[in-house]
Every structure is written in C-alpha cells, then in structure tokens.
Symmetry: C2
Subunit: 337 residues, 2 copies
C-alpha cells in the first residue's frame, strides 16, 4: 500500500506537496497534482486514518451507545430501525460508526472514556434509560451528542411526538364508540412511557371520559411478557375496558395473547391499539392497529443534528420532535352494543 513518503520518492516531490495534492490544496499545479494522483492510483495508496486523525484532530467517527437493556442490543425491533437510518444518513457525509466495547485491554472503562480514547467526533445515544449513569455522563460531556427517544434540556434530542400519538390513539378508539378505554403504560422512568400516559390522560380528560380505577396499568419495560401480565390485570377488573391503548407493540402482542387465553377475541370483544409499528405486527393475528413512529425520519433528524454540531465543532442544544401516524389494521373495531 505504501505511505506518503513512497509517493514522494516515486514522484520526486516532497511529502508536503504530495499531501497537498492529495488534499486539493490550490498551491500545487495541475500538472504535478496529476502526476501524484496517478502514482497514488498505481500503487493503491490509501491514507492512514489514524495518522490523519492524529494530526487533524478529526476522526470521522461517531460513537454509538446502544440499548443494553435485557441483552437485546441490536436486536431491538424499534431501535435498530433508527440506527440503520442514522447510519445511512451519516454515511453520506463520510462518517463511520463505532460500537465501543467497555473494556480497554484489562481495565474496563465507561463509554465516555472509551469515546474519548477513540477520539470520536460525536456521539449518538439510543437508549431509553435516562437513569443510566453512563448516559448521564455522556450527556454532560463536551463532545457533540444527540440523544434519541429521550428528552433533555442540555443536549440535542430527537423523539416522536408521544403525547400527540397517545391522543390520536385514544381519539381513534373514542370514535369507534369506545368509552371504557384503558392504558397499558410503559414505565415512566422512560420518557416515552411517561409522555404517552400524559397524552392518554389529556385525551381522556378532553373527551370528558373518566379513567376508571385500575385502567391505567404500568407494565414496566415494554416486553411481551409484561404486556401480557398487564392485560391479565385489566381482565380481572369488575368492569373491564372495551378498548385498550398499549404503549408499545411488543406489549400489545402480549396483551392480545392474554385476551385470547381468556377466551375472548380481538377486536370483537376488545379493541387493542399499539405503538411503534414494528415489523412483526403485520403478521400476527389480528394485524395490529398502531401508532407508527417514523424510524427513518428519527434517524435522519438525529444525524442532521449531530453533523451540524460536528462540523461547527461545538455542542448545541436543539430539540426535534417527529410526528407520528395512525396505522389502521385489524385489531380495533366499533364497540359492540
């Protein structure tokens, strides 16, 4: 492959000139630039990124902190859509993504430390747990950063319009004639969870609908199993709801399972609307009606906010909230008379 020295030797120019030719400086003649470029092509020359980063203090790398919750990592059906879109968007600007391990040789270190070690130009955190110390540390650092699916006053963030989404869901059920509408909620330590219960409560209030005791059940961290258990509780109730807005598709899947196991049908006996629009819900029975989060849009917005900061080489604080849409499928029906 060779270095810039070899290139200098071959072409007879100094390494300074070679470097300039390679980097399109204007103070090198077209003729010599052409010679150098050709020689570079012939010897398959490629600049060494480490050397470049070392002297320019720019690494063209973005550190990714991904959800570590219950070992899902990149398998997370919602987050992986975001990261994929983020990757595409940043790629076009020449950035690489680096998934850092938390272990530097023997010693283990924090994400922030590792990112500093790697000298990344920016950080994206896709991890909904705001209590995570690691996340806190990252948000307080001075490296350009964007955090997804979480709110914060002192760094750039992008997330879906969760309260509006919740409102849409409740209104939709209302228009189908439902008046007994429950909510299976995500834990409010997670912003998205909290925002959706807020939206639910707001919508109910606006529609002048009471939230019956037991109609708001916290199902924790968005898993199928937790959704199922939450639905069990609703089904136990003296007067169970006729419709339920579930704060996440995976929980909704669990909820449907619970309904089925009780010998009831969705949507005939009970309507269910989810949140996220993950891939698999198109294939379950019934196909799940849900509030769709636009992962493409979220990823792109995140990329945009981060790239801005990285090119300006300064931290900024901007909030971007992405609109959601209701996707009508087959899990909701008019209330039965």
């Amino acid at each position: 492959m060779g270095t810039i020295y070899d290139l200098a030797k071959i072409t007879g120019f100094s390494i300074t000139t070679v470097s300039k030719a390679l980097n399109n400086y204007k103070d090198v003649s077209e003729k010599t630039r052409a010679k150098i470029l050709q020689a570079a092509a012939e010897m398959d020359y490629l600049p060494n990124a480490h050397a470049q980063s070392l002297s320019t203090k720019k690494s063209w790398a973005i550190g990714v902190m991904f959800s570590e919750a219950n070992e899902v990592g990149m398998k997370h059906p919602f987050f992986n859509g975001i990261i994929e879109s983020f990757r595409h968007a940043t790629e076009e600007h020449g950035y690489d993504l680096i998934f850092a391990s938390r272990n530097l040789r023997n010693r283990d270190m924090s994400y922030l430390e590792h990112f500093k070690h790697r000298a990344v130009d920016g950080i994206v955190v896709i991890c909904s747990d705001r209590m995570d110390e690691q996340v806190q540390e990252l948000m307080q650092s001075d490296i350009p950063i964007v955090v997804v699916d979480m709110d914060s006053a002192n760094c750039s963030v992008v997330y879906s319009d969760n309260t509006e989404g919740a409102r849409m869901a409740v209104n939709y059920l209302y228009e189908l004639g439902h008046r007994h509408i429950a909510h299976i909620a995500g834990d409010s330590s997670i912003d998205a969870g909290a925002a959706r219960v807020k939206g639910y409560e707001l919508a109910m209030q606006t529609l002048d609908l009471p939230i019956h005791p037991g109609y708001l059940v916290n199902a924790g961290f968005f898993s199928v199993e937790e959704g199922k258990q939450a639905m069990e509780k609703l089904l136990q109730l003296a007067s169970p709801p006729t419709a339920v807005f579930v704060a996440g598709d995976q929980m909704a899947i669990g909820a449907i399972e619970a309904v089925h196991e009780h010998g009831l049908r969705v949507p005939e006996d009970i309507s269910i609307i989810g949140y996220d629009d993950i891939e698999m819900i198109k294939y379950i029975t019934p196909k799940l009606t849900t509030i769709r989060q636009d992962t493409d849009e979220i990823g792109e917005a995140a990329a945009e906010l981060l790239i801005e900061q990285m090119t300006a080489k300064e931290r900024r604080t901007e909030r971007r909230v992405i609109p959601v849409t209701l996707i009508e499928r087959a899990s909701c029906a008019p209330v039965k008379k």
Copy 2:
C-alpha cells in the same frame, strides 16, 4: 485530559517511563509506577487510540460488512442476532466494531479500501450474497477475516448445518405421516439456500419419497412476499403437498398467509415448517415450528475464529459448522387421513 507529556512533566519522569508504567513494563519500579498511575487518574488521562494504533500497528477495531440487501441492514431479523452475539464476544477481548461507510470525503471507495484506510485488525462479513464484488474483494485480501453464513475454501467461515437442518425438517414431517412434502427454497446463489435444497433432496431420497413435479419451488431471497407467491404456486398444483418445508421463517410467514387466503388452515390442512427461528414467529398464528439456527453460537464462533487470526496476525482458514435444532410449535400436524 492531557497527554503523556503532561504526565511526564507532572511526575518528573520521562515520557518513556510514563509509557512503560502505563503499559505494565517490568523495568519500572513499583514506586514510580504507582506515582504515575495516580497522576494519570487525577488528571483523567486517557491514551489516544490513534496515536497508539499509529505506533503499534494495531487498532483494536474490527470492520463489519453487513447485508445491504433491500435496505434492511441492521434490521435483518436473523443477521442482527448474529452481529449482536459477535459484538459481545469480541468486546470481551477489547475490540470495537466499526461500520464503515463507503464514502471517504468526496471520493467513494470499496469496503476493503475503507477498512485498509481505517487499518482494522480484522473483518467480519455478514452478507449472504457471494456474488457481491465487494465481498469477493474482502475474501481475497490478506486481512484476517471471517465470513458468516457462506462457504469458502480460502477464508474462515462459520455457518449452520443447513443440510442436516433440512433433513431434520423433512424427517419430522415424514414421521407425522406426510408423504407429499414440498420445499419452498431460497435462491441457490445463496449458500444457505442451496444447502437446504440439497438436504431436502437427500432426505427425500433416503426416505424413498418422490419429489413430485412442482414440489421444489425457488422463492428467491427469503422475503415474506416471495414465500407467499411460492405457496400460491404449490396450491395451484393438481395434487398439492400436505406439508411444506420452507427455507426461511419470513418466507414461511408468507406461505401461511397464502394458505389462509385460500381458505385452508395450518396445520390442519397443510403443515408448514420454517427455518431460522426468528423472534416474531412465536407470535404469529399458528406459532411456527421451525429449525432453529443458533445465532449466539454462530456469532461466538465467528468471533473466536477472527480473534485467533488477529492475535496470530496471520490469515487462517477454518470452517465451523454449527448444529441446528428443531423447535416444535404449532404449525405442523399429523397428516389427515
């Protein structure tokens, strides 16, 4: 943060000694090592990875080439399980993963070029398209590499025991009494697809079962839609099969859809067994019986093969085939009399 020079100045030692202390060289006394380490801790010193890589020629980074097929990328339900497990395994050894873009500033370059540019220690390719020029180029380079889900004579590979899996599937259907067993296959340009039809044919032959005309249908690239279309064809047949072994879970989902749309039931009218055991099939109706590929094991094996090469700093060629298991759920039933 500071550099090693600052550390030298503060402690009064030379940078040589500081470096040695940090790297556990034995020719530095415990006393001075302690002083240096403490100073390092106090000033939050972190070594610069680029500088280290530059002088050691080791980057502690692994380049990842991921499936680009139909824009799925990290959303691929099977591959993302592998990469997640691979990530865990390599992380423990101190390696970071880097997802390279194919664009270096203005100029765009190949994956291989980019990986050389980044000076990665090794490469993992998770992309089943062996015809991809980029993949070819990577496999022919001299960088340590491991390729997943694909066979090759001249680099380390790991994949599931596809022919055995196919055999298990067919035998299972046979034991349920089925004799009219069809196969919805993946394209044979993809190794896994080819191996599974081979296994299917072998098994049928061993069981002395004929493969009726039209019973082996190529469904292309493992998508739900293609699976559906393939099943349509089977249903068109004069004497349709009573059971079908589908080469991928997503295709199986499509196949089930097709069966349902024809007013038939799974498994009562027709049994279906899939391949992969992706997350979502536990939630469809009926729950899909399938051949499970152990993504954890595959990812770990890949990590192991790659790490071996990277520490030896030489390319090796080892083949690892991972056993599969049959997961019995609800999509297969005894043939009806």
